[in-house]
Assembly symmetry: C2
Homo-oligomer: 357 residues x 2
């Protein structure tokens, strides 16, 4: 690893009590470049701009995928990352689907740990606080041909984080716009999937909904995801979530919720969820909770669901009755080292990794 | 317009008799930045890298779309661009679908003409030669939130061009992978659409096919596009091409072919093309030609179609019998000022635009 520490660190200007998420970056970043069929050296360097031409293939043809991860600080100042091997596996799955080169464990996990260790002072302690970490791969070759690029960059950047949403939100079940095609890239964290969702979401916002529950593009009869999250539905005391597929992201938080629900003995069914079933459950009073899960937000509880012009309100359950909030607490307690971790999900970030290497 | 001419032009190193397409850029580029809800000044400046962070939203969330256009030089050295108003309208349609700001005519057409005029010496003269022009819009804001960006860049870069393909190619009808979802972004020239197509195309390449004929993702029973082109099928003496839709790009070359076919009195039907119909026509000997059209290639004739493990060979018709080649010649003759232009498609690029402004 090539190390170039910042000579002008900004950490002294960072107020962990008062910051906004997503546009303040930690002092360093990881960079690794792919050329001539192989990855070069991993570089840990000051965060900042690099020279890219507007002919860069990443912004012309969209070869770009990313991961979202978090590091947490416990009361003793220890730093943990959560299930990083899942993100490592998934970025390579995304890269494959987008015809980009896979990264190695050394590049991804080695770079990640070195970066988080070096900039550990940027991780805010406290409820809901974390460091949001963004590994990504994108095409950097300058060429105007719609073909697989020959040059790529792997990078890790990070920003101090609070929860995206604190309040329950209203969501609209899509009956026209779609997120993913059969035989498409829905299960990849492909950059283009997100851009495609912004306009339909804007339209939903104008109707008074914060997010969209995406449905299958052929019939709009089955739930897929909600916003940028996996979706869970509770009818009576059973939780349902759609199976992962080529259209549905294999979310780390989704998988963690499933395991946590099973540990509590909650009945959880991984099966297609029809819109009809959810609407009927609402009508007959058995629809208890609907929520989304993802790394950035952990959990967003839905307070209302819009469907074909109708707005169906959902009960807001207190923590002790809510599966969504109970499982969220179970998860966050493990992530932040407040609870035991029988799953082995937490990975301690050792101190002084660079010095001890 | 802010003008900064190159102090180190590379034009003297350019050999119009011997160059490869797509990775040699003309001396200048157009840049215009969007911030605080409005576009700034158009800048004409030397082509080259600009500072962008890996946290740039364009490569993280894929808000990026582009156009492909060409400028041609005639025997007298006059320079023409082809139907630029169509590309101007379409980039704004793409921008809308991806929740990006529209550009003005002054930015797009004004920038385009000034750039092509200034670097007119980069346009190679001769059959199949042109300047390939790439306008694009992408999100430049540095932020790790999956939302509409607040900062964008419009750019125009360009590269001397020969035809992509000279030889007929074999194509595979997709029965699994898809290019576009219902309610998705297929009709936008969204960066992500291209990345999504690379891996399926690589698989098709391994089976001996150069491109994929994309079919509808729900049933794979209907033709949509071929590779990055619109697709045409000739059965007996009738041409068929699918109607544009939210899944099918409204191609400028497609529209030009339709008008040119009508002018010649060729029967052309704009209607869904079923795979079944094409396969049956091949079996009974009425399938005469299948081809793709697009700005980069103008026309690619297909010599074989693969479908469910079978390879169906197509006759290779000489120019005087081929609708594909005849219409291609009609089009190129207009583009290059060899023929009259009754449609008003050619737009002359005036000389010394900057000096006369």
């Amino acid at each position: 690893m090539i190390i170039q520490k910042s000579t002008n660190p900004r950490i002294s200007n960072f107020d962990p009590e008062n910051f906004s998420f997503g546009n303040m970056f930690i002092d360093h970043m990881i960079i690794c470049e792919y050329e001539n069929g192989k990855w070069g050296d991993v570089k840990l360097m000051p965060y900042g701009p690099l020279p890219f031409s507007p002919a860069m293939m990443g912004v012309n043809y969209g070869q770009a995928c990313f991961e979202g991860m978090k590091a947490y600080k416990d009361k003793d100042g220890q730093v943990f990352i959560f299930r990083p091997e899942k993100n490592f596996a998934r970025i390579n799955k995304s890269a494959n689907r987008l015809a980009m080169p896979e990264v190695t464990e050394e590049i991804f996990l080695g770079g990640l740990k070195a970066l988080v260790d070096l900039d550990r002072d940027w991780i805010p302690y406290g409820e809901g606080n974390s460091l949001y970490i963004r590994p990504l791969i994108f095409a950097t070759e300058e060429a105007l041909k719609a073909r697989i690029a020959n040059k790529f960059m792997f990078a890790i950047v990070a920003t101090p984080a609070k929860s995206y949403y604190s309040e329950p939100v209203a969501v609209k079940i899509s009956d026209y716009y779609s997120r993913a095609a059969n035989g498409g890239v829905g299960s990849a964290k492909a950059a283009g999937n997100y851009a495609a969702s912004f306009y339909p979401t804007k339209l939903a916002n104008e109707e008074g909904y914060e997010q969209i529950i995406w449905t299958d593009d052929s019939t709009h009869e089955y739930f897929e995801e909600s916003g940028t999250m996996n979706v869970f539905v509770r009818i009576n005391d059973t939780i349902y979530t759609p199976p992962t597929s080529e259209k549905i992201l294999d979310g780390v938080t989704r998988d963690s919720f499933i395991q946590l629900a099973k540990r509590r003995g909650i009945d959880i069914q991984i099966e297609p969820i029809s819109v009809k079933k959810v609407i009927e459950a609402h009508k007959n009073g058995t629809l208890k909770e609907v929520w989304g899960v993802g790394t950035a937000v952990v959990t967003t509880v839905f307070k209302a669901i819009g469907y074909q012009g109708e707005r169906l309100d959902l009960p807001q359950l207190p923590l002790e009755e809510s599966f969504a909030l109970t499982l969220q607490k179970d998860l966050v307690d493990i992530q932040t080292n407040v609870a035991e971790d029988p799953f082995g999900w937490r990975v301690l970030v050792e101190k002084n990794i660079l010095e001890n290497a």
